[in-house]
Symmetry: C2
Subunit: 384 residues, 2 copies
């Protein structure tokens, strides 16, 4: 298998981008990525997008996006795995290069979520759950994650303050990220006073609805070394699935897809979680980041809340998590999220993260998941 | 790059399967494929599906389908490229094995289209066109292909009878295929008397709305040779895109994505179109098969109509096309179509096609496209 490297990243400012269309923001991220990579060569393109059909009445982005870029004949495919679509698109671009089918593969993630009503967006997002056994009966994602949060508090004594510590930390990090949708700090008091969405999750426990796009360019490590810019080596990749309905799981506090995808990626990289210096993870809700810390093996089951409130995951902690601000502050355009996580990891590894730059890092991990962790994809990135 | 082979196929009877759900038919096709392959090993799964979101309120099939199979932890991804989703899913399974990420990759295509109204289905299908510049203004796919048919008749003198010859031939072939949705013969008179959908295309020029699924198992050629069943070698793969809106094309009679994907696949296989013995192609409308014959290079531009009515593409013609009955008779569950084309090519190459068996064949080509050929994917299969 050919070794893989990232040679370019492209991110735009995320938010409610009502003046721009889905195709425009995707093309902008691609052009920024090409500029960063110092090449305009694209052999193939993968597109991470959860639901252009429901959000925009637009499937077939494999034709739409190269066309709008003025590169209509680029071979392209869209990859979907709910909110893990972006990470899966990067993984597929890796397959293109690893196999030798392509030498330069670009992955772009995009979601344009704010052009429909909140109810319509909630419906669209709920299609990541089991339609027949969950969504149809009225369960939404805040509801599913609230059940996990309640169970976590009940079994492990996780507290309201521990949930809030995730929010406070991610908004602090996001306040240092100019591309974030909500680049400002939040206090614990603000979290407590925000409206209840699904007990115990309040508005500020939830990641927002966002328009956004992000892109990364993959080539072989050999090819990357010929270029001027420091390449970032992709040493591990893993993905896995779990039952789609929460009710089908023996233990709703065990994120099997996250565990399995992490183990696969670590094995490929020849590493253990102790070798990882920092992570970008899928904090779609405050409780999610706590449970992911446990699933990654950073802390034992039940200790994620305390680790968060003790500062383990802060910018100056022993295992910084979501230096970008995470989904919570940076925003969560679902198909773009997994790609943007990799953009942040590359930015950190290059030493280009400005005020939120981590010190003494060589190895980062990104973890992106769909639904209530019905799917998960992990990448391990290294400077060499 | 590792060489690839198909060791199993799985097809179910297509139609209006109201008594079954999307997850059920997908799992049935997978189980048939595993039985045919003589293994239950699945390292990874790719899923071709155009619009679970709009047809079924269900995205995230990467979690849903392995889960329903009782194999919830299988790593899976959904691939979408409108009606080319199935072929792209097979191509992605090939990437998994070619790269060495997996040894046994299964591709399953599925679409459950008949559980919503005809208007809703027409809307869902139209999301394969340009929403902003085509679909929003009321254009549907019969309309887009009717424009191509009108232009073809105008420029090349293609006749109503030539269009009908495609329909008659494909329904004849489909009458010999027990899995076809409409396994019966059609006369030219029946085509002429069928309701006008979009002039000049009548109801019987159009492929139907279908519930269906299909699966194929890919492994390395080396691994395949260890098994009892005759493997089918995948010698060429190509995919390409074109502008999504018909209005953006210099020439609406030139299917660039089909030409480019065919050329890429032929080059990889080290072959020319003259080396191909038969093809399964994307006859979503009668005019499409005629134009694809030209884009493949089987006949010169403008000669597709005459070649069809002269019998070139019949079961006993020099270049048999759609021995399965094609989308027209076999049905067109959009995400499954590209996978089923490969099932038919394998069935023919194994000599298992019963009454519709072609003689003296060693090499087949499958061509699957999305929208008005905004994307296309081609596979070349050989017995060895």
């Amino acid at each position: 298998m050919r070794k893989l490297a990232i040679i370019g990243i492209g991110l735009i400012k995320w938010g409610e981008l009502w003046e721009k269309s889905m195709r425009q923001i995707a093309a902008e991220a691609v052009f920024k990525c090409l500029e960063d990579a110092g090449t305009d060569r694209i052999d193939t393109m993968t597109i991470g997008n959860m639901s252009g059909g429901l959000f925009n009445g637009q499937e077939h982005l494999s034709s739409l996006i190269p066309d709008h870029m003025g590169r209509k004949n680029i071979p392209a495919m869209r990859i979907e795995s709910a909110c893990a679509s972006g990470g899966m698109a990067v993984r597929t671009a890796c397959l293109e290069v690893a196999s030798g089918f392509s030498d330069y593969a670009i992955a772009v993630g995009v979601e344009k979520m704010t052009d429909i009503s909140g109810n319509e967006a909630t419906y669209a997002l709920a299609t990541a759950a089991d339609q027949d056994y969950e969504a149809f009966h009225g369960v939404t994602f805040p509801g599913l994650y609230a059940m996990m949060a309640k169970a976590h508090m009940d079994r492990y004594g996780t507290t309201r303050e521990q949930l809030s510590s995730v929010v406070i930390k991610n908004h602090y990090n996001g306040s240092l990220n100019p591309n974030a949708q909500f680049p400002f700090k939040i206090t614990g008091d603000q979290v407590l006073k925000s409206p209840m969405v699904s007990d115990p999750l309040r508005l500020l426990d939830c990641s927002p609805i966002t328009d956004g796009a992000a892109a990364v360019m993959i080539t072989t490590l050999e090819e990357a070394k010929k270029l001027k810019k420091q390449p970032v080596f992709i040493s591990g990749i893993g993905h896995a699935s779990d039952s789609i309905a929460l009710s089908s799981r023996k233990d709703i506090l065990k994120l099997e897809a996250v565990e399995l995808s992490t183990n696969t990626a670590l094995k490929m990289a020849g590493k253990s979680i102790k070798d990882i210096d920092f992570a970008e993870v899928h904090d779609c809700f405050s409780i999610a980041e706590i449970m992911i810390l446990e699933a990654l093996g950073v802390v034992a089951p039940g200790e994620g809340g305390k680790a968060s409130s003790d500062g383990l995951t802060g910018l100056d902690g022993d295992f910084p998590v979501n230096p970008s601000g995470g989904l919570k502050s940076k925003g969560h355009p679902v198909g773009a999220t997994g790609v943007a996580q990799i953009c942040e990891a590359v930015t950190q590894l290059r030493g280009d993260a400005g005020e939120r730059q981590l010190e003494n890092i060589r190895t980062g991990l990104t973890q992106n998941m769909g639904g209530s962790a019905g799917s998960s994809v992990v990448h391990i990135l290294e400077v060499i």
